[in-house]
Amino acid sequence: MIHSLKFRAAIVSVVLLALFLGIWEGLNAPPGDTEPLTEYEKLMGGASQEARVPQPSAVFSLALEELGNPFYDAGPNDKGIGIQLGYSLYRVLTGFFMAALVALPVGFLVGMSPLMQKALNPFIQVLKPISPLAWMPLALFIIKDSEASAIFVIFICSIWPMLINTAFGVSNVRQDWVNVARTHELGHLKTAFQVILPAAAPTILTGMRISIGIAWLVIVAAEMLVGGTGIGYYVWNEWNNLDLTSVIFSILMIGIVGMLLDAALASVNRLVEYQE
């Protein structure tokens, strides 16, 4: 019996997962009670004084509970996971699309004009390696709004991969295709939209994909700093509550949402891809 590679890979994945969860569950099992708790022990909250990482089964039951009612709102420190993720997604997408509005035209300019490339390159090289969180104090001071500052941080970290990839894609469009545009007397705008943009689109989309990945990484840290709402704040808040089950659950959710964001951009990328 020869199964497809996909099927065999799935089996290995499931086995690995089961192994991992099993070890995790086993290592963190609370000690079995040998005798009933005394009155004092009950008062002190249980027999074991040793803190343990919550078991996967606990995380799983919490996940069922949380995902069953993701949008409840019971005050500032108790909101459903859906609401928290919604806030984070809103910030990431706002910052990301604002960055796209700046990065794509500037990237086009840099890619088309050797002069602008040389002129802007020093700025890009210095600004690019700055950790986006380093902008936070300055953003808070200037914007005076924590919500907008978080969006600004996303904006500033999303801009570089998009800008650099757009410039690279645009400047590397094959001269043959540009010549086709020239021999057909296409104007600058038509050349940009009918030839250069479609030719550079896969490279640009790759930059956007990198950007949204970074933005999703950064939003967790940014929200831990600014607080209030969002998945980053949620993680930190649950840590302060010593609710590690929720922390592990939210870590998992961050991973899943990040994967979905990447998959969304990957499917857009497939739309603009072409084979030479």
Binding site: N179, T183, E185
Partner: protein
């Protein structure tokens, strides 16, 4: 003033040498004309600047000296009046076959309706025998089919001058032969003025009314203009039996093998020219001597 439809006068291309040396002259003093409806091929060894001449005619490159005049107006920059078929097809890979043609047709006639553009484009796809693959992307076509699309795109815009840069260079011999025949058929229908670069002597004789021969670069020149006085319509299989075929062919091969080197360089090249224009040669009317001698030598050797 000039009697030709396209007039190339004193064309030269020089590249500045690195440092302070003499500039490198690829070719210079190229003078020739192309008449309306004429099919002209240009042959020369690599590096003699054929492609540069074609790019200057297209307006994609700039000459260091001299001018190109078409229809009484100097060529400055690319124009839809001069269609180009590039060696590597240069189709836009993200567009379907049909969209590659409509791209050109729309650029040529911006006011046409969508239906008119589509109908016109389809007609030219049909002309090159590509009905049924309109929706395929260029990557899903064979090399021969891609070059057909490229030819259809150029013909569809109905330029006054069609420039072809070694259009069949990348194709295998069988496909090449088929497309040559198609090109002949289309050319007989349209009587498009064509200027074409080729490396293939047989292809040039099959297609051209006149063949321009270039000496070797650097400092290449257009030394001869060879008349191909073989009557049309021509067919690939029949033309080799025409009595004049081998006289023309031998003349061309002799030029490429021997004289293109001898005449290379400034002074010798200038000698080959009559005045400023390349010597007009009709191998079929030349005294048999030179060509015949060689032929007998070759036969004796065999």
């Amino acid at each position: 003033m000039s009697s030709h439809f396209v007039e190339v006068q004193g064309l030269a291309k020089r590249y500045p040498a690195p440092g302070r040396g003499e500039p490198l002259t690829v070719f210079e003093d190229a003078n020739f004309g192309i008449d309306k409806g004429e099919f002209v091929c240009i042959i020369g060894h690599s590096g003699c600047g054929k492609s540069t001449i074609l790019n200057i005619l297209a307006g994609l490159d700039e000459a260091s000296d001299g001018v190109v005049v078409m229809n009484g107006r100097e060529v400055a920059g690319p124009s839809l009046e001069r269609g180009v078929v590039f060696q590597n097809y240069s189709l836009l890979p993200w567009r379907s076959t049909l969209r590659n043609i409509t791209f050109a047709v729309q650029a040529r006639w911006p006011r046409w309706s969508r239906e008119e553009v589509n109908a016109h484009s389809l007609r030219f796809l049909e002309l090159v025998g590509l009905k049924g693959v309109e929706q395929r992307k260029p990557s899903q076509l064979s090399g021969g089919m891609r070059q057909r699309v490229s030819i259809a795109r150029a013909f569809a815009t109905q330029p006054q001058l069609l420039l072809m840069d070694e259009p069949f260079g990348a194709l295998d011999a069988l496909t090449r032969g088929m497309i040559q025949e198609e090109l002949i058929r289309i050319w007989e229908e349209t009587h498009q003025t064509v200027f074409m670069i080729t490396h293939d002597v047989d292809e040039a004789i099959l297609l051209a009314d006149r063949i321009l021969l270039m000496t070797n670069g650097p400092q290449a020149r257009v030394a001869e203009s060879v008349q191909v006085a073989i009557p049309r319509p021509r067919q690939r299989t029949d033309i080799i039996h025409h009595p004049d075929y081998y006289r023309i062919r031998n003349h061309l091969v002799d030029f490429l093998v021997n004289r293109s080197k001898e005449l290379s360089g400034s002074a010798a090249g200038a000698e080959a020219q009559v005045g400023r224009y390349p010597r007009i040669v009709d191998p079929t009317r030349e005294p048999e001597s030179a060509v015949a001698d060689q032929e007998t030598c070759r036969q004796a050797a065999m």
